[in-house]
Symmetry: C2
Subunit: 341 residues, 2 copies
DNA sequence: AACAATGATGTTAGCGGTAACATATCCGCA
DNA sequence: TGCGGATATGTTACCGCTAACATCATTGTT
């Protein structure tokens, strides 16, 4: 019997179970959801019947009737950047303790894709939305405002939230890094990052960074941008290129830890004194870094806390509780071994 | 106006749009789904009305009425191991070209959790299921058999599939690695891996590996297991431990590339000649490796191909097309710089 | 001019559950 | 013995949409 040809067997319904158990559909529904009073005897009968038939409830019908959906839409730009799977992991951990369930949508950093994904998700009437960033199309913002469910914008903090917001001020992160670098006496600073204009968080970090340098009368001396490919390799290559071109640089700021790690490996392999000759710093606190020969200076993006708190906000609101609508996390600079102090 | 107190405004329905546009609900439904004949004039009217009101269709009701759901359940053990986000990325890429949408569930390698997640997902009546591995609880297998939707089990190939299967024979991967190692003259072999008994793929690789060694009359001389923590760090630590304990080892086989990379970094930092004194090999082909000073010998897990093909199978079947129910991918050993040849 | 074929729209009856209300059934206690 | 109040179960009316069929113009054909 070829499974590809199996005639579409009718799915089991409450009615099937109710007939098998000899009770009404409503009673079956009650048993299966643990709602209302049902005698132990019928409960048992029903559970047996359901198991025997292999009944799987139809949440679609249930959701339509009850006007309740236990899904939480989580919208992230990418799965390739470990930051987002890590946020997801924390969200899952929290929601696992509740009846809620995350549903992930990926936007590839494209606003139109984000709008489409959001529309798709909202059309399933989720109990909440967790979405990365504060920059959305006007239509997307309108949808979220009208959706009448809790919305939590995460990661970033610089901008106007629609509803709740949990994150790190990216500008501030950039600024603090710049201040620390200046304080340690570095003056000839190079920057490396992606050339993704739509990665607003990276952009804001750079803005904060530049701004703080400016206040000290310093400006970035040289920079390199990349797109695609292995970040570690790119970091290595860009570092080589920038140091060849501007050998007098005494500090390299990377927009993320992965390219920073590549740069670090390059320096180590080429006997460049870090942090004596050049200092290095990245952003994120990826777990990977712990395994490197030297600890890269970085600043945690707090993604686990962010995921956890965002999920808690949704869960609390789903229970009608009130919560803080703005949670600012303030990661501390970790000097590691690549930034003098 | 506190958004937490907004009275639950009634959601817009087709009826609202139909009244706004002055046509029947059915016509609105037709326009919004691009089905059936509708005159350009009404089409325009309806679209304008929908946009003006900010109407978001209710897929729950739609799905219930049409008995069609454009969701594909994807069930993976973890988001922390980059392998799975990468598979997800490929799946998304393929499904983006179709009306289908992936929905992710995470099991944390726990069979009971997998069963629960599967139940939850099937209760939304998805158009297909993509699930990692071949080992499931009996109840989970029964659910999938009864679900009457295409099921694709991915990653692994050693076992009985429920329906379709796409993957790499993990036993064979382990065996081929062992054969290559033996062929290059290595004899005193150490192994490092997780002690997760439920990571069946790692287990099978080790089985294949051991078996091939046995055929050559060799057995693993020493081994180390870890759990939790940064894989890179663990790889470093385990390598140090195993080499101190068994200094005569001439080859180290790691159950994944991340710990392998840690081991490689340890060897490099300690001036251990690789692959002269000891050879190293891992498994997976994580992108990260490209950035290391030396290329670790490895074998690609083909996760991008796997994701792509699995998604294509679901998409094809959703269109009633028939497809291969068994796709075996045969990754080739990449010698890199850590395995003599 | 009569009529089939076609195109454009409307009407009706569910899809499979659940909320809300109605109806037994049983018990203790005055 | 009868009655109020739990406790246990059933009945009814939707939830918001779409399949299937019905209706009504419009057009070309002979």
């Amino acid at each position: 019997m070829d499974p590809q040809h199996t005639p579409p067997k009718r799915m089991l319904t409450l009615r099937d179970v109710s007939e098998e158990a000899g009770v009404s559909e409503m009673t079956v529904s009650r048993v299966l959801r643990n709602r209302g009073d049902v005698s132990d005897a019928t409960r048992l009968k029903v559970n047996e019947a359901a198991k025997k038939l292999g009944y799987v409830p139809n949440k679609i019908a249930g959701a339509l009737a009850s006007q309740r959906v236990n899904l939480v839409a989580v919208i992230i730009p990418s799965m390739s950047n470990m930051v987002f799977p890590e946020v997801m992991t924390s969200i899952s951990e929290v929601l696992d303790e509740t009846p809620l369930q995350p549903v992930i949508g990926v936007t590839n950093y494209q606003p139109e894709k984000e709008e489409a994904v959001l529309f798709e998700m909202l059309s399933w009437r989720p109990s909440g939305v967790i979405i990365a960033g504060l920059e959305h199309t006007e239509a997307a913002r309108a949808m979220m405002r009208n959706a009448d469910v809790p919305i939590v914008e995460i990661m970033d903090l610089d901008g106007d939230p629609i509803d709740a917001i949990v994150g790190v001020s990216q500008r501030r992160a950039g600024r603090e890094m710049a201040e620390a670098i200046i304080a340690q006496g570095y003056r000839k600073i190079g920057f490396m990052g992606t050339n993704m204009p739509l990665d607003h968080r990276a952009r804001k970090r750079l803005e904060g960074f530049t701004e703080a340098l400016q206040k000290a009368g310093i400006k970035i001396q040289d920079q390199e941008f990349y797109s695609g490919g292995s970040a570690l390799v790119k970091g290595r290559e860009m570092t080589e290129a920038i140091l060849k071109r501007s050998p007098d640089l005494d500090f390299l700021y990377y927009s993320n830890d992965m390219i920073g790690a590549g740069g670090l490996l390059y320096c180590l392999a080429n006997g460049i004194d870090v942090p004596g000759k050049v200092g290095l710093a990245g952003f994120n606190g990826v777990e990977l870094l712990d395994g490197l020969p030297k600890q890269l200076a970085t600043m945690d993006a707090e993604r686990h806390k962010i995921g956890r708190i965002a999920a808690e906000i949704i869960a609390a609101r789903a229970n009608g509780q009130e919560v803080d609508l703005r949670v600012e996390l303030k990661p501390r600079l970790q000097f590691g071994d690549t930034l003098k102090r």
